[in-house]
Structure formats: C-alpha cells, structure tokens
C-alpha cells in the first residue's frame, strides 16, 4: 500500500531529532500564542517565517504547522479560566468552560478540552492521511479551467462564511484580487501598480500584509478595550482528569465534533471558528437539556474543542493536495513552501515526499507533545495569563516590526505592514473582514494565470468553463452560494409580509 509506505517514510522524517525539536518549538509557540489573547496563529506564523529561511523546508513547515494546531489547544485555556477567548476558535468554549470554572470545575474543563483536542486532532490526521493521496489524484486531472473555477468557488465560500455582511466580504475579496496583481505580470512581465516603488516591484508582501491586518490592527483595537484587571481562577494544577461521568457525556460530542470539524476545515473560509460554533449548536440540539447549556455543560466544551482541532487538520487538505489555501494561516504556509522552492499542489507528493509525508506524520507527534504541554504544564500557561496586556503589547508590536523587516531586510515591507495595520484597524471598526482579502490576494495571481490560460486554450470563449463538467460543477456551486443570502432575505421578507 502506497499510503502505508508514505506514512512510514513520513515517520522516519518526523522522528529525526532536528524535526522533533522544530515540532516541539512549533507546538510550544502555538500554545503560547493560543493562550495569549490578541496574538493569533496567523500573525505568529508570519512573524516566524523569516527565521526559518536557514533551516530545511521540512523542519520549517513542521514548525509553522505546529504553531497553527498548537494554538487551538492553547486558546481553550484562556477561554475557560478568564472568559476571554485566547483564540477566535475558542470563543464558544467560554460559555460552558468558564461556567464550569466558576463552579470550581476548571480542572476537568481544561482536562477535557485537552483530551478532546487530542482525540479530534489525531482522528483528523488519520482522515488527512487517507484522503490526501486520493485528492492528489483528482488534482492531477485538473486543467486551468478547473483550477480557476475551484478558486472562484473558494473565494465565494470565504465570503459566504464571513461573519458580517457578505457584500463587504465580497468587496474585500475584490480588493485582495487587485492587490494580488501588484508587481510584474507573470505572463507579459509588465510592471503593474508599482509606480517606481522598489518594495512593490515583486508584489505586495504577504507577510507584512498579514502582520498588519492580523497583528498591528489587533493591538490597536485591544488598546481601546483594556482596563480593569482580569479575574483568573487559581491555578488548577491538580484534579485535571475528568471523571467517568464526564467521559460518558463527552465521548459522543467529541466524535461528532471531530467529523464536523474535519469537513468544515477542508472548506475554504469555514475553518476552525465556524466549526466550533457549529459543533456547539449541534451539541445543544442533540442534548436532552438544551436549556442547561451555558451553565457549565461539559458537552459544550468537548464538542467545540474537538471541532476546532479537527478543522485545523482538515485545512491542510486543500493546501497539500491542490495548492489552494483554506484560510489565512494556510496562505502563509503556501508562501513558506514557495519560499523554500516547493510548489504546493498535486505534484508536491511526488516532488517532495519528505515534506508531504513529513508534515502529516509530524502532526501525530505534535499532538502527543501538546497533550503533555497542556496537562502537566498547565500552571506555566496560567502564570503567563497574569502578565498584563500593557506590558505585552509593546513586545507584540516589536515582533511585528522585526518580522516584517526581516522577510527581505527591507524597511519598505515594514511600511506596508504599517499601512495595513491602520487599514486593518479601520476595517475592524467598520466591519470589513480581513480573511477574504488575504485569501484573494494569495490566490489572485493563480486565478489570473489560470483564467488567462483557459481563455488562450479556448481562443477567447468562456464556454470552456461550463463545457467541462468539473469546472461547471464548481461554478454552479459558487453561483448558488452567491444567491443564497438574497433568496433567504426574500423568503424572510415574504414571511413577514404574510404575518402582517
């Protein structure tokens, strides 16, 4: 079996001491940024990307991936103990997790969050292991029209899952597409939107844009909201193990959350945040006592925590098999692979099997490390929560400055980050989401290339997108998604008209 050979080979790579070290560094930093509110995995990975230039691509990606799924573990700690989500994907964990902490059951809540994360994380990697090679085969049969249609569907999904207005999300996707065209045109080589600015000649840097939108702007926003001291429950270093009753109630939610999270994770734009909310809603509906949710139901911790970790695994599928990022973090990983001279997509498994299988198997190892980091060492992370934000934010800003500068040792990239920091702050104030912008900016150049290649192939006829069944299918799905909000609003309007 091809897959088992791959997994075996992957473990040989992932278990090399140097890769174990980088995996540990990754999950450690991941837990750290997960615990700290106001610093997310996207900004952290963007920050550390430049420091991986000197190491091998496998080690680099193993570490960066570790930050991502590690953050899913860390986020729950802050939610449960402080009632502030350490990570956007842990927002729902606050509801019942914090309620459990108030009842003196912080230990089992933290313990169950860690176990649920571990079980779901591992299950989703198993699914990833088996599903990825299949999708690679599908991806190999795609031509430019299929890729273009798929990316269009991806962007539509991102805007569909956006939290606020879909119209604003579509606008941000449009801005991202335009930002992606800055720099030399890949086909004709002509400079576009450069205006003699050296920094823009190679395009707008992804890392500075991400650090601006997700790092600097977040700090600017948090500085308005802080004030007062956080109440942290006493460090529960003992009594972390959930009892038999907790396990009985949590087993099914964990399994349901794993499946739901994994599939939502694959979809561009859905990801860990939506998965955790969906899992909470499902558990509430499935429960015999939905009215007791929010008062410390362990199902409300286990389900969402399983879902966000499973989603983190699922998100790797489109990146590793099709070269299409499903969220902002995957967009940076895509950039990281390319900086290391690898082309993400269906050919990755052939060209760099060590990277493909090494990343996947390193996640099994990383999840075991995370379980250890989050159970016996929980006291360390609780201590970290006691550092006030006023002392923390100068360091976050400093990291952003160093990170954006060191991508290419260029002050211009720092200025790009500064501009997008202010823009991101205004976007947050006026309810524009950053994720569609980033995603469109990253896949924009690929979309442009495949669109133009398709049109050259078809001698200028758009029929090529609908005459090929797979691309037609993607396009139909995209159109349906675009229409859904309109249809729903019309239906709601009709219903209120009937009622009157």
């Amino acid at each position: 079996m091809e897959i088992f050979q791959g997994v075996l080979y992957g473990f040989q790579v992932a278990l090399q001491p140097i890769n174990l070290l980088y995996c540990f560094l990754g999950v450690f930093i991941g837990t750290l940024v997960g615990v700290l509110p106001g610093l997310g995995p996207a900004a952290a990975i963007a920050l550390l990307l430049p420091s991986t230039f000197a190491v091998s691509p496998v080690s680099a990606i193993i570490m960066l991936a570790g930050i991502y799924y590690g953050a899913m573990y860390g986020g729950s700690t802050t939610s449960i103990l402080v009632n502030i989500p350490g990570e956007a994907a842990s927002v729902v964990t606050c509801m019942d997790g914090y309620a459990m902490a108030r009842q003196g059951r912080a230990g089992p809540a933290l313990g169950m969050a860690a176990f649920a994360s571990f079980i779901a994380g591992t299950l989703s990697i198993v699914a990833l292991t088996f599903l990825a090679p299949l999708l690679v085969r599908v991806g190999l049969s795609f031509g430019p029209p299929e890729y273009f249609a798929l990316m269009l569907l991806g962007i539509t999904l991102v805007t569909y899952f956006a939290r606020g207005s879909m119209l604003k999300a579509l606008m941000m996707a449009g801005v991202g597409l335009l930002l992606g065209t800055v720099g030399a045109d890949t086909i004709s080589g002509r400079q576009r939107f450069v205006f003699g600015i050296q920094t823009l000649a190679d395009g707008v840097g992804r890392v500075p844009v991400i650090m601006g939108l997700f790092g600097v702007s977040e700090v600017l926003l948090n500085l308005e909201q802080i004030g007062g001291t956080r109440e942290i429950f006493a460090a529960p270093t003992r009594g972390l193990l959930p009892n038999r009753e907790d396990w009985r109630r949590s087993t099914i939610p964990i399994l349901r959350g794993s499946v739901l999270g994994f599939f939502l994770g694959i979809l561009p734009g859905a990801g860990a945040i939506i998965a955790s909310f969906a899992a909470y809603a499902v558990e509430k509906r499935a429960s015999k006592h939905p009215e007791r949710f929010g008062t410390g139901m362990i199902e409300g911790v286990a389900g969402p925590e399983a879902a966000n970790n499973a989603a983190a695994g699922g998100a790797f599928i489109p990146l590793l098999t099709l070269g299409i990022p499903a969220n902002a973090v995957m967009a940076i990983l895509l950039g990281a692979l390319m900086i290391h001279g690898l082309q993400p997509g269906p050919l990755l498994v052939k060209q760099a099997p060590d990277v493909f299988w090494g990343i996947i198997t390193s996640m099994y190892v990383g999840n075991v490390m995370l379980l250890i980091l989050n159970l016996p060492l929980i006291g360390l992370w609780v201590g970290l929560l006691k550092v006030p934000y006023q002392l923390l934010f100068p360091f976050i800003l400093l990291f952003c400055l160093i990170g954006s500068y060191s991508v290419s040792n260029n002050v211009g990239d720092g200025i790009v980050m500064w501009v997008f920091g202010i823009l991101g702050y205004l976007m947050k104030k006026f309810d524009y989401e950053g994720a569609p912008l980033i995603l469109a900016m990253v896949i924009g150049p690929m979309m442009e290339e495949t669109l133009r290649q398709s049109l050259i192939l078809s001698a200028g006829s758009f029929a090529i997108f609908v005459s090929r069944p797979i691309s037609a299918g993607f396009l139909v799905a995209a159109v349906v998604l675009l229409m859904l909000p309109l249809v729903r609003r019309r239906a709601a309007a009709l219903r209120t008209a009937d009622a009157e």
């Binding site: 597409l177 500085l223 920091g421």
Partner: protein
Amino acid sequence: MPRDLVGGLFWLAVAIFAASQGVTLKLGSLSRPGPGFFPFWGGVILGLFSLALLARSLGQAERLSLAGIRWPMFLLVVGALLGYLLALESLGFVIITVLFLLILFRAAGRRWLFSAALSLVAAGLAHVIFRVWLKTQLPVGPLGF
C-alpha cells in the same frame, strides 16, 4: 453621515483607479488577455459591489462615529511604529528598540526606572534571540550594534 457611505466611496475610488490603470496597461483580447485584463475586470467588479454598498448605506440609520477611538494612544502607537521603521537603518536595531519599548511602556503608565530597565533587558534579549541565535539580518547602528 450614514456609516457605510465613506467606506463605499473609498472603495469605489480604489475600483475606478484600478480599472483605469487596467485600461492603460492594455486589456488585450479575449483570446489573448493582456496585463490590464484582470486589474480592469477586478476594478469593475469591486466598483459594482461598492455601488451596491453605497446604495444600501443611503437608507442606513447607523451614523458614522469615531467616538470609541482613544486618539492619544492610537496616534502614539502608530507614530512609534513609523518612527521605528524610519530610524531603524540609521540608529541600528538595538538603540531604536530600546527607545521604542521605553516610549510604549511609559505610555502604558509604567514608571521611568521600570520602563528603562525592562526596555534595556528586552532589547538585549531580542539581540541575542534574533541576531545571534536566528541569524536575522538586522541593521547595525553607528556604535556597532
């Protein structure tokens, strides 16, 4: 002013600019799309969405409000970031980092002695972590660090 009016106008301007640049860059033909093809149509689509937002904003009850912004802190942080970037190459990484942290700790209400000590220690640590350990290329100042 309706809340989304300014945003709609801003993005509409961006869209018009992009589309006009697209025309200058040459659209090419459908069978051979040129370098301006994608920016032009991208601009057109963004423009249409912006117009939709503008139309929607006219009936909007929510007004534009900047009341929640803590201007002194906002301007200080934004200014400190820009100052850091502009002075980084002439002052060198360590000096500008000390100054940057010192200003922000002071702004956050910490005492002089505490702020100075923490800034010095942190800049030293950053020097060790980034320059020595991670081998990041950071600008060297007139004093050699």
